[in-house]
């Protein structure tokens, strides 16, 4: 029990440190402004459709747009600094001697990024409030829309943290992150190319975005999808921990 308590303490310390660090660097404001700008363009476009009565008001399309495109860039932009900077400045050596474990460092940093992203998601919540004000959207579906966005973001940020642990250069970390996310998001295209039912099924199961569909389109939580997202988060956290740990014996 004591170890768990200590881990939680360490996680909290790292999380709060990293979270506040985010807000003193200009990156988060640039990314945040970009996120809101693109999100607003998408929302105002879809809102014009609702306004004319062409479709039911909800956040499905806006969230879908943000998820298929914008997240692929914003997630690595937020996480690129997290581990790379430590390696670049050599502070990761200090981490090895500090009374924290590798996984606590990685998970704490990732949670901080996810925390920042939660703020982003809450900001887009203004659109949802706007819909509630002007019309009668299904509130359950709205919640599901944002939940879908938030879960996908968590998984994508984990991939971003992993990319950041690979290199001391932030730009490289960003590019690797974007590449990995594109790969994971559009893996199901393989199923279009090779006509094979089993392959189609498998790549559909592996693809990031397909697990978001039931949440953001039907407003229904499929627990297999939640398991998938949690799985992706833990896999990339585990891998990032291994990569970071490898610096201990490689040097």
């Amino acid at each position: 029990m004591q170890t768990i308590g200590r881990s939680l303490h360490n996680l909290w310390v790292i999380f709060s440190h990293e979270f506040s660090l985010f807000f003193v660097s200009p990156v988060v404001y640039i990314v945040g402004a970009g996120w809101m700008f693109v999100g607003s363009i998408a929302f105002s476009y879809f809102f014009s459709q609702f306004n004319q009565g062409f479709s039911e008001p909800n956040m499905t399309n806006t969230v879908g747009f943000l998820s298929t495109f914008v997240l692929l860039f914003t997630a690595p932009a937020l996480t690129m600094r997290l581990v790379s900077e430590e390696i670049n400045s050599g502070t990761h050596e200090l981490l090895f001697t500090a009374p924290v474990r590798d996984w606590e460092v990685v998970v704490g940093k990732w949670l901080a990024a996810w925390g920042v992203f939660t703020v982003f998601v809450l900001l887009t919540g203004l659109y949802g409030l706007f819909l509630l004000w002007r019309g009668n959207p299904d509130p359950g579906l709205l919640i599901a829309n944002y939940l879908g966005l938030w879960l996908l973001a968590g998984a994508m940020l984990a991939v971003g943290v992993f990319a950041s642990s690979l290199t001391k250069y932030q730009v490289v970390a960003f590019m690797v992150g974007v590449f990995l996310l594109f790969l994971l998001s559009y893996l199901n295209i393989l199923g279009f190319i090779v006509p094979n039912q089993t392959l189609t099924d498998v790549v559909n199961q592996l693809t990031l975005r397909t697990h978001q569909d039931k949440l953001i389109q039907q407003g229904v939580i499929d627990w297999a999808d939640v398991t998938y997202f949690v799985g992706i988060m833990s896999i990339f956290m585990f891998l990032a921990t291994q990569i970071l740990g490898s610096r201990r014996w490689r040097s």
């Binding site: 640039i30 004319q52 039912q197 039907q218 297999a224 398991t227 490898s246």
Partner: protein, 845 residues
Amino acid sequence: MNELRIDRNLARWIALGLGFVGALVMGGALVLSSGKFDNQWSYIGLAVTILGAAGFILLDPRALMKTATGRSGQYALTSVVMSICFVAFVAVMYWIVWKVNPAPTDLTALKKYQLSQKTIDLLAGLKEDVHATGFFNNQELSSQNEADLWLRQYKQYSNGKFTYEFIDPDRNPLAAKDARSGTIVFSKGEQKATASVVDEQNLTNSLVRVLTGKARKAYLITGHGELSTEDVGGQGLGQISQVLGNANVTLTSLNLLEKKSVPDDADLIIVAGPKSQFAPSEVDAISAYLDKGKAAMFMFDPGSGGGALSFGVVSADINVDGSKIVTGGSDGTARLWDGSGKEVATLRGHTAVVNDVVFSPDGKQVATASFDNTIRIWNASTGEQVTQLKGTINNIQRIAYSPDGKYLASVGADQTANVWDVSNNYTPMSYSPIKLTVPLLTVAFSPDGATLALSGGGTASGAQGSQTTIFLRETATGKELLTKALPTNSIVAMAFSADGKTLTNATFDGTLGTFDVSTGETKSQTLYSAETAVSGFGILADGKLVFALGDGTIHIHAPDATSTDGDTVLKEHTGRIWTLRVSADGKSFVTASKDGTARVWEVGQTASALQLTGHEAADKLMSYLKDKWGITVDDDVVIDLPSAEQVGSPVIPVTFLPTQYDQSSPITQPLAQAHPMKQVVFQTARSISTDQAPPTNVTLSKLVNTNGSQGASWGETNPPSNGQIQPSDYDPATDKPGPVALAVSGENATTKARIVVFGDSDFATDTLLQNTTSGNADLIVNAINWLSAKEDIINLPTTNVGVRTIDKPLQGPESVLLLVVSWCCLPGGIGLGGAVVWFVRRQRR
């Protein structure tokens, strides 16, 4: 600590042992299933193996480290192995959750995905295994997700009796060979039922249908040139029998003239685009059948462009001494009359409009040509069929015997002419068929029969054109004598002079032409205008010319007069005259009109000598629908201008708005509520009207309606002959104002009979059914389900009442405000926050 280590060590070995057992199970399962990795024991075995191995390694990574040599290598190896194990572990955990498939949590306010009690009871009572296969391609993943949410719950409540799978028809065409993409096929043994819309109502009713098991029987009525199921892949109904097969309906042909009544085992009869009228006995049979509480589906095409339900009498001929007259009608019959106007015989056999009839010069035989693409020869005394001709017979416009009776010629709008040797038992001449370069509308023989003249113009669909060609051929050999292109409108009729040296012809737009047979020199004179629409022409014994005009008048014109002011006008017909034919001696002529009569005229008389009425001018089937159901199939063409913006043609109505459907009918409700809404595409259609006060106990609903309001869509009663319809063609006085209904359903509460009437049959043909994005197939399947399985249908409460909208829409300036705030203020505010933080930090430094 020491204790913990022992425990951990023990756990490791237990894990390894489990993994070993798992491998054994998997191996055994593989052996039993002859190497196929497809049963649940092999899956479970694999899972346990991986979990066991992963547990063995993860529980004490250091033990593994010891086995590797070199410090760095040890670390690297451990790291890689641990990562692989961890990924495998997560994958298996996911796979287990996915396989266990826990009930989803519905966040929506109305619990859209919650099964109703009726469905749950049905599933709990399942006694036999039912399997469902969903066919969805990569573009339909959203529908597949939706289907998965439903079917998962079906499975959950079925005590293992219900299973389902998904197949991508693009990836696995073999398994999906007769299924349409976007549908779910329920099967129990050989029984099948298809749901084409993914919601509980449709899925549960498909389940009910597959459980009740009885294949329903539909009869496709034949004998009037209806669409056929044998014609696969274009304008036929080949696809529909497949669609019906999946809905557990078998389709059989039925000729009511032969069978006299509808068999008792019929659940449904389908009348798909008849091209001629129903005999009274057939209508009686259908009426008696429906009175037994059965169901029928009718599809009627507009009368224009080949189909005909209200064309009246289409063709006529009179023999040399006026003692016999023959007429051909849109009821598919030809009738023989004596000189007093008494009907002598009815020539039955054709299944579509009898487009032309002629006597042989000796008066002993009659030749008839029909849009059913046959030409038949009959005995002119008894009315018995003598023979049916062989040749290239398509869209035949006119037939003619040579004056010596040796040859019979036909011309078609397919640019083909046929010539038969009459004396040699109607064998085709060696040069027949003749393939020419314009659609052929008229044919004439020279008085000696040696020369054959052919002409026409315009398009194959019958629209008139602005240039034509006259072809002259030697009848005996087929040798080309003269071919002359003329810059005039389509030639609709021509006649040789008595000496055979000139060919006089009349064009559709009222020009009279004379053509020198030896030189090809032409003279022409404009007598009438394009609006008069000349349909017939002939030369009388006194040398005067006779014209039949589109308004039903007959003009007798002196050959040397330059104006039509001196014409004698005979006005008796009240509808368009289709055929005017002068007797061989030129002393009398006969006309056939849309008004349902044929008339015989003597030269010099100003009133007709005979009126022949007997063809069924109005279809009995139509009057049955009107009297018993309050449904009128209008004689018009539906014009839908909003559709034109989408598909390019105003005569192809397409549904674009849910409000175009009757959203309370089980036939169209699923189409309106599908996401995205399913569109129905009609080719040229006619409108269906319903009586304000339908007969007692009859409930009617307009299933599919045109887009737009008055002036944007209407039923055009007088479409321009060139087919180019303009918004200005709408005439509130004669046209039916929109929105007009394209399909109507009716139910009689007393007899329990049900019918659905469509103003089109093309919408059910293969070309439109194969388009998976359109709702045409759904419309048919839903209609057939409603018609034929009414006792099985479970009506589920509709949960999603209330439409979700923006009830306070943004107006003008408010929209701009939204743009300014969301595009500028929100991102700008964040950027400003960043700037402040940066500035404050700079100050502190």
